[in-house]
Amino acid sequence: MITSLTNAPAGPHAKELAQRAANRRNAKVGRTVMVKVQRCDGPGKASRWETFKVTTERGMNVISALQQIAGNPVTTDGKKTTPVVWNSGCLEEVCGACTMVINGKVRQSCSCLLDDYAPNEGDTITLEPMSKFPIIRDLWVDRERLFHNLRRVKAWVPIDGTYNLGPGPREHPKDQEIRYKMSECMSCGCCLEACPQFNLEADESKWDTSFIGAHAINQARLFNMHATGKELAMERLDALMGPGGVSDCGNAQNCVKVCPKSIPLTESIAAMGRAVTLASFTKFFRS
């Protein structure tokens, strides 16, 4: 039923990538770059801007710039302040923890080179926390709703039990290939930050009925294609047919352009659109 997956260009625009590569070639080590940070002292507190001077080193990324700032947290106005708080884990763009909004667009900060974004002496690079999740402090946000939404579609293979289930069914290599790309999702939240249909929801009681997001729709497709994961297929489709499900997507297709793993999210959205269409017919004629 769900078979298609193309290598159509996803991820950041080719033009943007070319510009960054050109910047990287021209950037000189040891220049001064302004790092403008949106800061917030804690949940519910007001945000403010602070700018810091950073002297670049070879291959410097946003995290190492923040580390340099932490070593001497003085703003460009000479005001002593607290070190900027951020979140990170893998430092190689596979955990998603360091995601933030850089120069207006969402991405991972660990893989973001200063040379790409601020190649000239005195250039400014702007860092903001993601806006679709509650701020914990400064650039660190709480992505709990993202994981909550994965639970809504039961994004796992049901194998836990009290006895050995034996070997699973054979998988077709073609299906594996399609699923591999989808499985690269690192729950970073880029697709949600860029989505006009996914917005900050402070009221947790509304999480079950507000838009589930492209990442969860893609995971539902992934596990519905899995020979054992299929067991929960109808439950996943039920979640996607309910309030905040796949129909909440407005086809702006920003998600697919900002996904750092180039996951074909818009294909997954259409595939699950087809799956719920068929499921609704099945249900109508069966019950």
């Binding site: 159509a8 006009p196 297709q253 294909e267």
Partner: protein
């Protein structure tokens, strides 16, 4: 399920059905009507090339009048209008506003073409409501105080009265008429965009186009549909802006008197093969 009678409760309980009905009504009946409506309106232009109607003096006005007469000859017209058009449009528009308000456009930051289509789909919906309401109120429900010049549209003199509505009076184009025409131009153009883009997204909604390639291919097809409808829409507006009210009225009067005298006259005129065909 617990009983809730709040509005969101109703929307949530019937979430999937309402979403799909919203999509469906956009295509059928509203989209299908839009196509036929634009074809009819453009007859003021393409009708000019129908030599069979040349005997009426103004073939465009004659063809348009006959199209209108055909519509008015349909049985239970008011019921068709209410249940086939007004209610579906009201339903689609009301839900459309609810859905549009659930999003927060972010085009400044993510200035991608697809994202602009997303936002324009919502803007065109809002403007579409205003336009459709004005259009119906002035021409169908007779709120002539909203028309500069106060022309009352008449089904018997369809083209000539419509020309006066859009030109701002019986004596050619006025400034106020231009404003009305401009509103028509913007309103109709946005609605054509809305339909063409909706045709494209509906294929994702229902899961007809899945691969990026299929989505692109269907996008080209929808662009073709949109461009054709846009051409029809603009032709109609242009056609009524330049329509000579007097000769249109003459043609309509001849049709109103019934077909026979006209046909005699056509026969007198020498009866080209075209006119002979009309006589049959």
């Amino acid at each position: 399920m617990t009983q809730t009678d709040s509005k969101t409760g109703f929307l949530d309980r019937n979430y999937f059905l309402l979403r799909r009905l919203h999509s469906l009504t956009g295509i059928m009946p509203i989209g299908v009507f839009l196509i036929s409506h634009l074809l009819t309106n453009a007859s003021i232009v393409w009708g000019r090339f129908d030599s069979r109607e040349a005997a009426y003096g103004h073939a465009g006005a004659a063809v348009f009048q006959k199209e209108v007469n055909f519509i008015h000859s349909l049985p239970f017209l008011l019921l068709i209008e209410i249940f086939g058009l007004w209610l579906p449009i009201a339903f689609h528009a009301a839900l459309g506003v609810v859905y549009a308000m659930s999003g927060k456009p972010n085009n400044q930051r993510y200035a991608y073409q697809d994202n602009w289509r997303y936002t324009l789909q919502r803007i065109s919906g809002y403007v579409g409501i205003a336009f459709i309401f004005y259009h119906l109120a002035t021409l169908r429900w007779g709120w002539t105080f909203l028309i500069p010049g106060g022309t009352q549209w008449s089904a018997e003199f369809a083209g000539s009265t419509l020309a006066q509505v859009m030109q701002g009076g019986p004596d050619g184009v006025t400034f106020k008429g231009l404003v009305v025409a401009l509103f028509y131009f913007v309103g109709v153009s946005l609605l054509v965009f809305h339909f063409a883009n909706g045709l494209w997204t509906s294929a994702i909604t229902w899961g007809l186009t899945i691969s990026a390639k299929a989505q692109k291919r269907w996008g080209v097809a929808c662009l073709g549909v949109g461009a054709s409808l846009m051409a029809l829409a603009w032709a109609a507006i242009f056609g009524f802006m330049v329509l000579d009210v007097k000769s249109a009225k003459d043609a309509e009067a001849k049709i109103l008197k019934g077909p026979l005298p006209v046909l005699e006259k056509a026969a007198d005129a020498g009866g080209s093969s075209d006119l002979a065909r009309t006589a049959k």
